[in-house]
Amino acid sequence: MSIRIRNITKQFGDFTALKNVSLDVPSGSLLALLGPSGSGKTTLLRIIAGLEQADAGSILVEDEDVSQQSARDREVGFVFQHYALFKQMSVFENVAFGMRVRHVAAAEVRTRVNELLHLVRLEGLGNRYPSELSGGQRQRVALARALAVKPRLLLLDEPFGALDAKVRQELRTWLRNLHEEMQVTTVFVTHDQEEAFEVADQVVVMRQGNIEQSGTPQDVFDHPATPFVMDFLGHVNVFHGRLESGQMHMSGFAMEYPEYQQTQSRDATAYVRPHEVELNRTPQGETSLPVRVVHVNPAGPVTRVRLLSDVFGAALNVDLSPGRYHELALRPGDQVFATPKRVRVFLPEDYAI
C-alpha cells in the first residue's frame, strides 16, 4: 500500500511540529524518517497512524483519503517506542489482542499467534508475561502484535531506541529480512543515521518540521542537499571563507571549487568529510594544507587522526584506512599535508546558522 502525505501542518500550542509537509511512500518500501529530536518525525508518524489529527493537509493510503478515519479504522500496525505491551496479559494474549477484539474464532487466533511467534522467533514463550522478557524480546512481541491484524502499513517509532548496541544490531538485520518476507509498506522513525542507512531503502531527513531531503541512503549520503543534512549524516570539517572564480579562499589557503565561476566574491562555508581528506608527508600541489598531528586513535575500523592547522589555527579531523595509517606511521607532533578530495560549499542563503 502506498502512502501519500499532502501538505500536513501540525501545531502544538506555539510550537510548529510540521510545516506543510508532503511525502510519497511507495508501496512495499521501507522508509526511515530521520532527524534530531523536535524535528517532527514522530508527529508525522503519529499523524499517519491517526494518533494525532493534523491541523491541515491529508493522508492518502492507496488513493483513499484516511485523514478523517480514527486510528482503530486505519488498519495500521504501530510499534511504540517503549513497546506499550499489555503488562497484565501473557505474550500470547498480547499478540492475540487485535484478533480478540475483532471476535476472531479461537482456533484461528491460536494458529495465527503461533505463526507470528514463530516468525519473531519467540516460540514457546507465549505464556510468559512482558516483565519476564528481555528488551529485544519485548520489541519482537510488539512487532508480532502489530502484524497480527494484517496491517496495511507498519509504523515503528524509534524501534530500537531502548535497546543496547548489540541487540540493536541484530534486530536491524532481522527487521530488514522480515520486511523482505512480508512486503508491508513500512515507515520507521529514528534519530540514528547509521540505523536509517542500514535498514531503510528510502531515507527522509527532517528538521524543524520540514523535510530537508529524501532519497535512497546513497543519494542522501553522497549528495546532501543542505548543510544540515551534511552535518547530520556524520562527522564533518567546516571551513569559513570567500568564494570567487572557481576557488574557495580561506586565510591564505585555497581549494578548487569549479562549480562557482562568478568573479564576484562572496562568503561561503565549505564542508569536508573526514574520510575525504588525504594525508601525505609531502605537499600535493597548491591545495595541500600543512598541518600538525595532535592525536591518533587507531582503534576501530578506521584510524581517526586529529590535526591542527597553524594557518587557520583550526582543528581538522581525518579518517584513514588502517593500511594508509601504517604506511604513514603518524606520530603526534608530525608535520603532514592535508589535501581535501571532495569539498561541498553551501552559500549562506541556503543555510543560515
Partner: protein, 330 residues
C-alpha cells in the same frame, strides 16, 4: 556466596519485601514526589486523540464525582459549621468556653496529641533508619509488625491496654501498689493514641529513604561526619518534607482517635474526656449546640490538616518541576 541469604544483598537502597500488612498504609501514605511528577505527565498525554471520551460522558462523570463528594463530604462539612454557629459566634464561644469540661477536653487533646506525635517521630526515624539502611535477619518481620496497628480495631487496642494495666489487668495490682494510674487516666490516653498512630511517620519515611538510597550518607561518613552531623546535615534535610507529611497525618489521627481512647479513658468528664469523646458525651446528653461547637473545632483542625497537606504537595510539585526544568536546560 549464598545468594539466597538476606545478608548477602548488596548495599544501597534496600528492597523491602512486601509483608502481609504493609499495603494497609499505601493508600494513606503515597510517596509524594513520584506522584506529583506522574500527575503532570498523564493528564497531558491523555489529551491525545485516542484517550478522549465524548464531552457528554466527561461532563456526566465529572458531575457525578462532584455530586458524590458534595453529598458525602462537602454538605456534612458545611453542616458542622451551620450547626455550630446556629447561635452566632458568641454562642459558639460560649459553648466552648463556659463549659469547664469542654475546656478541659480541648486542653487534654492538645497535650496528648503532640506528645504522641513526638514519640512517634523518634520511633519513626529509628525504625526507618534501621529498616532502610541495614540488612539483618527479621527485617521483613519488623516491617510487617509496623503495620499491625492498622489492622487492629481501635476498640481492641483499648481492650489490650485495659487487659494489661486495668484494675484486673496483669500489671494492675502492681501499678496500684505504686500509686500509678494508667487506665482511666492520662498515661492510658497517651499509650492508646501512640499505638494507633504508631505506623504513620515510619511508613512515610521508609519508601522515601529507600528511594533516596544510602550513597550520600556513606559519602558523608567517609568524609568524617559523626552520627550527629550525619543526621542533621545529610539525612534530615533530605527527608524533611516526607517527615512533615508524616507528622501532619499522624497528628490528624492522634487528635481524632475515638475507639481506643474511649475504652482506656473511662470517659470521665473533666478528667479523661478528649475532644472526640466530648462530642459524643454532649450528644448523649442532648446538648447538640455544645457537641457541634466541639465538632466544629475538630473539623477546623481537619481542614487545616488538609490545607497543610495540599500546600506541601503543591510546593513539592513546583519544586520538582523546577528541578526538571533545570535538568533539561544545559
Amino acid at each position: 556466596m549464598h545468594p539466597s541469604h538476606p545478608w548477602n544483598k548488596v548495599s544501597g537502597p534496600l528492597e523491602v519485601t512486601d509483608s502481609t500488612l504493609n499495603i494497609a498504609c499505601q493508600a494513606k501514605i503515597s510517596p509524594l514526589a513520584p506522584r506529583a511528577a506522574s500527575t503532570l505527565r498523564t493528564r497531558k498525554s491523555a489529551g491525545g486523540l485516542v484517550a478522549d471520551e465524548p464531552l457528554w460522558l466527561r461532563v456526566l462523570l465529572i458531575g457525578s464525582a462532584f455530586t458524590v463528594i458534595g453529598l458525602l463530604i462537602l454538605i456534612p462539612l458545611v453542616y458542622v459549621f451551620v450547626q455550630a454557629l446556629a447561635d452566632g459566634w458568641s454562642g459558639l464561644i460560649k459553648n466552648l468556653w463556659n463549659d469547664p469540661d469542654t475546656r478541659h477536653s480541648i486542653w487534654l487533646t492538645l497535650s496528648v496529641a503532640p506528645l504522641a506525635v513526638a514519640l512517634n517521630t523518634v520511633f519513626g526515624l529509628a525504625a526507618a533508619w534501621t529498616i532502610t539502611r541495614f540488612q539483618f535477619p527479621g527485617r521483613t518481620l519488623l516491617t510487617t509488625l509496623l503495620d499491625v496497628p492498622f489492622a487492629i480495631s481501635p476498640v481492641v487496642v483499648g481492650l489490650m491496654f485495659v487487659l494489661l494495666f486495668g484494675m484486673q489487668g496483669y500489671f494492675g495490682p502492681l501499678l496500684r501498689d505504686h500509686g500509678i494510674k494508667v487506665i482511666f487516666a492520662w498515661p492510658g490516653l497517651l499509650l492508646a493514641t501512640t499505638f494507633v498512630t504508631l505506623p504513620f511517620v515510619a511508613r512515610e519515611l521508609i519508601p522515601l529513604m529507600e528511594s533516596l538510597g544510602a550513597e550520600e550518607e556513606i559519602a558523608a561518613v567517609s568524609l568524617g561526619a559523626n552520627p550527629w552531623q550525619l543526621f542533621w546535615r545529610i539525612t534530615l534535610p533530605n527527608i524533611k518534607w516526607g517527615l512533615v507529611y508524616g507528622l501532619i497525618q499522624c497528628h490528624a489521627r492522634a487528635i481524632g482517635e475515638f475507639g481506643a481512647v474511649y475504652v482506656v479513658s473511662g470517659h470521665i468528664a473533666g478528667q479523661t474526656d478528649t475532644m472526640p469523646l466530648r462530642v459524643e458525651k454532649l450528644f448523649q446528653e442532648y446538648n447538640n449546640p455544645g457537641s457541634y461547637a466541639v465538632a466544629s473545632v475538630l473539623t477546623l483542625m481537619a481542614l487545616l490538616t488538609l490545607l497543610g497537606k495540599s500546600l506541601l504537595e503543591r510546593f513539592l510539585e513546583r519544586q520538582m518541576a523546577a528541578a526538571q526544568q533545570e535538568a533539561q536546560s544545559p
